[in-house]
């Protein structure tokens, strides 16, 4: 069974944060990708590539920069 876009998004963000040595905060639709999750441009670049690989497309490649996790999830709705 394949997981939905939301699960893929939160898993990927958690992995990015864990890899830099931080403990991932609770990730909700309201989480702000910049201020709350503190993803830098390289981590965002990796997130966009991961979403493209896992979900077949990503908002960043289409010029859309979601501010929150909810907006990111909504891109796949």
């Amino acid at each position: 069974m394949t997981q939905g876009p939301e699960q893929t998004i939160t898993d990927t963000i958690r992995e990015l944060i864990t890899r830099r040595g931080d403990t991932p905060p609770e990730i909700t639709h309201e989480s702000k990708i910049g201020p709350d999750l503190d993803l830098d441009s390289l981590e965002l670049a990796e997130l966009s590539a991961a979403l493209e690989d896992e979900l077949g497309s990503d908002p960043y490649s289409q010029g859309i920069i979601p501010a929150t996790v909810g907006e990111l999830v909504a891109f796949y709705a």
Binding site: R19, L42, A45, S48, D58, Y60, G63
Partner: protein, 449 residues
């Protein structure tokens, strides 16, 4: 001229096999005779330049030797072109005559061409050959070489047994010319495998007791992989790496697998010829090559990290352009860094990965990843990215039985000390690396879901 090389060996060893190819062998005496007949036909028809689309390696070498005897500029076309692609290439290169295999249309067959003997042929004043670049960065270019210059750069080993040499390159590639010339000048037998794939090469090496093989590091990596799964006794005495930077990891693995063989790596380019042979078993080039005096045939300098070469044995020029102008220096496109008295290759200018302005070289990262337990081979390349322009991506081939998750964690740990922009952001486990002409392809790949 190539024909003179063949005649010299044929005079001493007429019955020695010059070429062993799938289903067909030819001795030096027979090769001289076949070339003479083709040369007569080229001369009689007044041909000055010819495209060679024949596929049989014995025929290809016969045509090359014949053309060199008749002062005709031959060009070996890439293998397996269809009639339309052949015609397009012939038009672009200005070839009115293309030689094709028996039963093929769109050109002249060797049967139709051959006939008169060569004994009335005047010796040509000069003889050139056109060699196509592999064209990994665009349309292949025709590179014009002088046979005499090419042969002057060939090392002669009169004290060594002639041996049997594998042709692990496609016969249209410059590297194949190097193998052919080195082998034939030294009276060796050239063994042509049914394909340049490692498995077919191993079969040919085993069956014909090949002693010398010159091939790309990518080829050697694949050969070691096949041998690890299916061991064979190979009688290798000389191993040569060329066509790509020779990583220490591959040299070390070859030394372990073939302890009795000599190992060298050569630095060469279609435009400037074969210019360095390194035999000390270390990767990179000795930095002393930068200090050669004026009597040397080749000189080197580093400009903005890029290796430049000037050689007396270089090409005459590109086809369709005036003879090479300027001061003779050729920018190689190879980036080097000096470390421990060596010039280490870090990548090609076209392979630099630009991550948000940070320039990342792929080769040191590949060496780092290849050192992780469980990794059989790795390639590092730039992947287009909307946010940083490119990100570093890596494809990894696992050793048999290696655990993918453990290897991925190992690769990430090995790269953790790299600057953030230089860490691979996407790592794929793949069955095999993408290869073209037995060289690893490092251009940005499209993401595969």
């Amino acid at each position: 001229m190539l024909i003179d090389v063949l005649r010299t060996t044929a005079a001493e060893h007429p019955e020695r096999q010059a070429i062993i190819a799938a289903g067909r062998t030819i001795t030096y005496a027979e090769l001289v005779s076949a070339a003479g007949s083709i040369a007569g036909g080229l001369h009689a028809r007044g041909i000055v330049a010819v495209g060679c689309a024949v596929q049989d390696p014995v025929d290809v070498v016969s045509v090359l030797a014949a053309a060199s005897a008749a002062g005709v500029e031959a060009c070996v076309y890439p293998r397996g072109l269809d009639a339309e692609a052949t015609a397009t290439l012939a038009q672009r290169l200005g070839h009115e005559t293309v030689l094709v295999d028996r039963g093929r249309s769109g050109g002249l067959t060797l049967d139709a061409l051959a006939g008169s003997a060569d004994d009335e042929l005047p010796a040509p004043a000069a003889s050139t050959v056109l060699i196509l670049t592999t064209g990994t960065t665009g349309t292949p270019k025709g590179v014009r070489h002088d046979w005499a210059r090419l042969l002057r750069a060939v090392r002669r080993n009169p004290d060594k047994a002639a041996g049997r040499w594998l042709l692990a390159y496609n016969i249209n590639q410059f590297a194949a010319f190097q193998v052919l010339l080195h082998g034939l000048v030294n009276g060796a037998t050239i063994v042509v495998p049914s394909s340049t794939h490692a498995r077919d090469a191993i079969d040919a090496m085993f069956e014909h007791r090949v002693t010398s093989v010159s091939a790309t590091p990518t080829f050697w990596r694949m050969l070691l992989g096949v041998l690890a799964a299916e061991p064979r006794e190979l009688a290798l005495e000389q191993i040569t790496l060329g066509g790509e930077a020779a990583p220490a990891s591959v040299i070390d693995r070859l030394r372990a697998a073939f302890p009795a063989a000599g190992i060298s790596h050569i630095y060469a380019g279609t435009e400037f010829g074969s210019v360095v042979s390194v035999r000390d078993g270390l990767s990179g080039l000795p930095v002393s090559i930068l200090d050669r005096d004026e009597s040397a045939d080749t000189h080197f300098k580093v400009v903005d990290g890029e290796l430049h070469v000037r050689s007396r044995n270089a090409m005459l020029g590109y086809q369709g352009q005036d003879a090479a102008a300027g001061d003779g220096w050729h920018a190689t496109g190879d980036l080097v860094e000096e470390r421990d008295g060596r010039l280490h290759f870090v990548g090609r200018t076209v392979e630099i990965i630009n991550v948000g302005g940070a320039k990342i070289h792929p080769l040191p990262l590949e060496e780092l990843i290849a050192s992780v337990p469980g990794v059989a081979a790795a390639v590092v390349y730039g992947r287009p990215n909307a946010i940083t322009g490119q990100i570093v991506a890596a494809d990894v081939v696992l050793d048999d039985g290696a655990d993918g998750d453990a290897v991925l964690a190992g690769v990430r740990a090995a790269c953790a000390d790299q600057p953030a922009a230089g860490r691979p952001r996407r790592i794929r486990i793949v069955e095999a690396l993408e290869v073209r002409g037995n060289k690893t392809v490092r251009t940005a790949l499209e993401a595969k879901p």
